[in-house]
């Protein structure tokens, strides 16, 4: 008898537990993080000018909006919420940060959109995922009334705006930050090797990839763990990061002499044993950079924030920044804000995006707090962008990055870029690791991109020919 009583007791307890469990964990809600490590502010907030944006004269917006994203966006929102609520006192903004970062946010958002329920009003989307969401739908076209985002087009960095456009001309997410790419180099190592170390001179030296490789010969000493660059594949990667894989007719466009040349440079770097070949984002990589064992890094501007705050906090004065050789218009990284069709308060959500993304005041408060480089060009008028950065030996890096972002050049982006990039880089890395022929690699890469994006291309063509 007694064991039956036990079974009953246990099953009751389990039942209660399961009900409690299922009641308090909606499937797709990311955990709210209350405490995260703050991004190091780079300048004092004093420099932020007050807003000159017009005061709202139309009807008063109210209600509650929920934003999904990943740290450290919460710090960015915190920095502007007061200003927003002064303008719209009746809109309550709640943000939920996903501990799985951009990938976790993507999966949660995709799940909520598929389920048709549980999506936030606004979600952050990272550049590698934007294509996927542009293709799948579920996000609001911001060019339509009442949003009419089209009026901001000229105020944003051109390629950034294009990345959020669907091929059939809808704007499915609003631009936030960009990652103008540049070469970060070690001044102290350059000096020791007898190379010039002032940014103007290094930029001249690095005006061509050949110049970049020749300079490396004076520094690289693989036997003593002194490397010139992180990975030889960075040379073709930076040229193709999130862009230019396709031509205007959405045919694969990588098989050309220019790409072949870049692959040859990369191959030369590898043969000279210039690159550390350490996987990025590993402790080994951070340590090697912090110890000065990697003399140059080809990477997005946000890397400056990483250096200052945790990779090389003691390295003030040791680093300099110059543009990418030959084609300075390069970008690595960035994110967007999108309004979901499920949102019940789209106008309030739009009011928030407009304030946060398209006013110089909010953008610069966010920039100062978390280093997200604004894609909103009027924000750059702030004196903030005119002054030197002590960490980079007084170099005016921000002005450089604004210059890079507006350099002349052609950037063509499609929603298939992230997938194409994966297929392309697999072939490039294979070529470097096995010393294969660049032309053959390009032929294979062309085919690999076609195969990997075949399904997306089908969807895209359907989208284009609907009208």
């Amino acid at each position: 008898m007694s064991h039956i009583r036990w079974i009953k007791r246990i099953s009751l307890a389990t039942l209660a537990g399961i009900i409690a469990l299922s009641a308090c964990t909606p499937a797709a809600t990311p955990q709210v993080i209350t405490q995260i490590v703050a991004g190091t502010p780079i300048v004092k907030e004093v420099l932020v000018t007050p807003t000159t944006a017009p005061q709202p004269t139309e009807k008063k917006l109210s209600g509650e909006i929920v934003i999904w994203g990943w740290p450290s966006a919460d710090k960015a929102f915190e920095a502007i919420i007061q200003g927003f609520n002064q303008k719209y006192p009746d809109i309550k903004v709640t943000w939920q940060m996903n501990p799985g970062m951009a990938g976790g946010t993507r999966d949660a958002l995709a799940t909520a959109l598929a389920a048709g329920e549980g999506a936030p009003d606004i979600s952050m989307i990272e550049i590698n995922d934007i294509g996927r969401f542009v293709m799948q739908g579920g996000l609001v076209d911001l060019l339509q009334p009442p949003f009419n985002a089209g009026k901001y087009r000229d105020q944003f960095v051109a390629y950034k705006w294009d990345q959020a456009m669907s091929p059939d001309g809808r704007l499915l997410a609003f631009p936030w930050d960009i990652g103008p790419a540049s070469i970060f180099y070690r001044r102290d190592i350059f000096k020791k090797a007898g190379l010039p170390d002032a940014p103007e001179d290094v930029a001249k030296l690095f005006s061509t990839w050949q110049g970049y490789l020749d300079a490396g010969k004076k520094v690289a000493n693989p036997a003593k763990n002194q490397f010139w660059m992180s990975n030889a594949s960075d040379i073709p990667y930076i040229y193709y990061a999130h862009k230019n894989f396709f031509d205007e007719n959405y045919n694969v466009a990588v098989n050309n002499p220019r790409t072949k040349q870049l692959l040859e440079y990369a191959l030369e770097a590898r043969k000279l044993k210039f690159d550390a070949k350490i996987p990025t984002w590993t402790q080994e990589w951070y340590s090697a950079i912090g110890n000065g064992q990697i003399a140059t890094l080809i990477i997005g501007c946000w890397f400056g924030g990483f250096l200052k705050s945790w990779i090389d906090p003691q390295g003030a004065g040791n680093w300099g920044v110059v543009p990418i050789p030959e084609d300075p218009l390069q970008n690595w990284g960035g994110s967007f804000l999108a309004i979901t069709e499920q949102s019940k308060n789209k106008e309030a959500a739009w009011a928030f995006i407009e304030y946060a993304m398209a006013t110089a005041d909010a953008q610069n408060r966010m920039f100062v707090t978390v280093d997200y480089f604004p894609a909103f060009k009027p924000a750059w008028d702030n004196p903030l962008y005119m002054e030197g950065d002590a960490y980079f030996g007084g170099e005016n890096t921000r002005a450089l990055w604004t210059k890079i972002a507006t350099s002349p050049g052609k950037i063509f982006t499609t929603p298939m870029d992230a997938t194409a990039e994966q297929a392309f880089m697999s072939e490039v890395v294979k070529m470097l690791d096995q010393n294969l022929d660049p032309q053959e690699t390009l032929n294979n890469a062309e085919k690999a991109i076609q195969d990997a994006t075949a399904r997306d291309r089908e969807t895209l063509m359907k989208m284009l020919h609907k009208e």
Partner: protein, 313 residues
């Protein structure tokens, strides 16, 4: 005539069953939570993804029915075939040593020759409950190319350092296998230990009196009596091995898909990439069903070869 009688008999049986269910409804309420949760989180996804595998769907909007096209494309997809081969290689190369080590450890801990056997059990089990982030951190440090622990030891001994992530990608699989064995040996050991504890100690005593050595005790007593347990763990690790995801993901997420030459790309990793990163849910579902089919077939072969697992009668 007979069929009518049969139908009537069946109907009577069904209604009798239904009466039984009604009489014992409390018991059914008690077991219902599992079935309700299973229906929502298990049964529905299983059926729905089967349907999805015949469609093209990005996760929103309309689903285009495309018959068995996904399956045909899958078998023409070079990368999927590579991932299939990788999965099989990793599975075999990881499980043979792992099961042998786990058996040996379990036997030693059970033999009473070792003091503090509880402590050792706990230690061997620790990798199972360690956070995967911490595990990745430690193993990436061990596998460091320039400053890694393993390469440090090798170069100190005057040997060539290992180019873990380069070349043809040859070393990526051993890296994954080592991590896999480290993580799962303790778990298998605990299962075998439970099996060994179920063997009557008198059998060992009798054999010892007859002069049997420890290897003989293991070979002629422990091993045959453990057969059903080994089969059980084989089926479990079969499912685990074919769906291996964590280990290759943790070691290669920051590199190209599965590392250079796709060397560490397993079927689950490719499924995740297609389904979640690229939003090809139909294609990913087809992949999931191919994996499921492989598991069912090979589990059946397993059972045929080793007999029915204990307790499944």
């Amino acid at each position: 005539m007979t069929s009518v009688a049969l139908t009537q008999a069946r109907a009577a049986k069904v209604s009798r069953l239904w009466r039984e269910v009604k009489r014992n409804w409390v018991a059914y309420v008690y077991i219902s939570p599992f079935y309700i949760l299973f229906a929502v989180f298990g049964f529905f996804p299983i059926v729905f993804s089967f349907y999805l595998s015949f469609t093209s769907w990005t996760g929103y909007g309309q689903m285009d029915f495309r018959g068995i096209t996904n399956y045909i494309e899958l078998f023409r997809d070079k990368i999927f075939l590579i991932s299939f081969w990788n999965t099989i290689v990793i599975w075999v190369a990881a499980h043979v040593p792992m099961i042998l080590i786990a058996l040996a450890l379990a036997f030693i801990l059970n033999s009473g020759l070792v003091k503090l056997s509880r402590l050792f059990q706990a230690i061997y089990f620790t990798p199972m409950v360690t956070s995967s982030v911490a595990v990745a951190f430690v193993f990436m440090t061990m596998y460091g190319v320039r400053f890694g622990l393993i390469n440090y030891v090798l170069t100190s001994l005057g040997l060539q350092p290992i180019d873990w992530w380069g070349g043809t990608g040859f070393w990526i699989k051993p890296a994954i296998i080592l991590l896999f064995v480290w993580r799962w040996t303790g778990w298998n050991m605990v299962i075998y230990l439970a099996g060994l504890q179920g063997i009557d100690a008198e059998l060992y005593d009798a054999a010892k009196i007859d002069g049997a050595s420890y290897p003989q005790l293991f070979r002629y007593i422990a091993l045959p009596l453990l057969k059903p347990i080994i089969l059980f763990s084989l089926i479990l690790s079969f499912v685990g091995g074919i769906t291996i995801f964590d280990e290759p993901y943790l070691l290669t997420w920051m590199q190209t898909l599965g590392g250079t030459n796709y060397a560490g790309l397993t079927m689950s990793l490719y499924l995740y990439t297609e389904g979640f990163q690229r939003g090809h849910l139909g294609y990913a579902s087809a992949m999931a069903y191919v994996i499921c089919f492989i598991i069912v077939i090979l589990s059946a072969v397993n059972i045929k070869l080793f007999g029915r697992p204990a307790g499944s009668a």
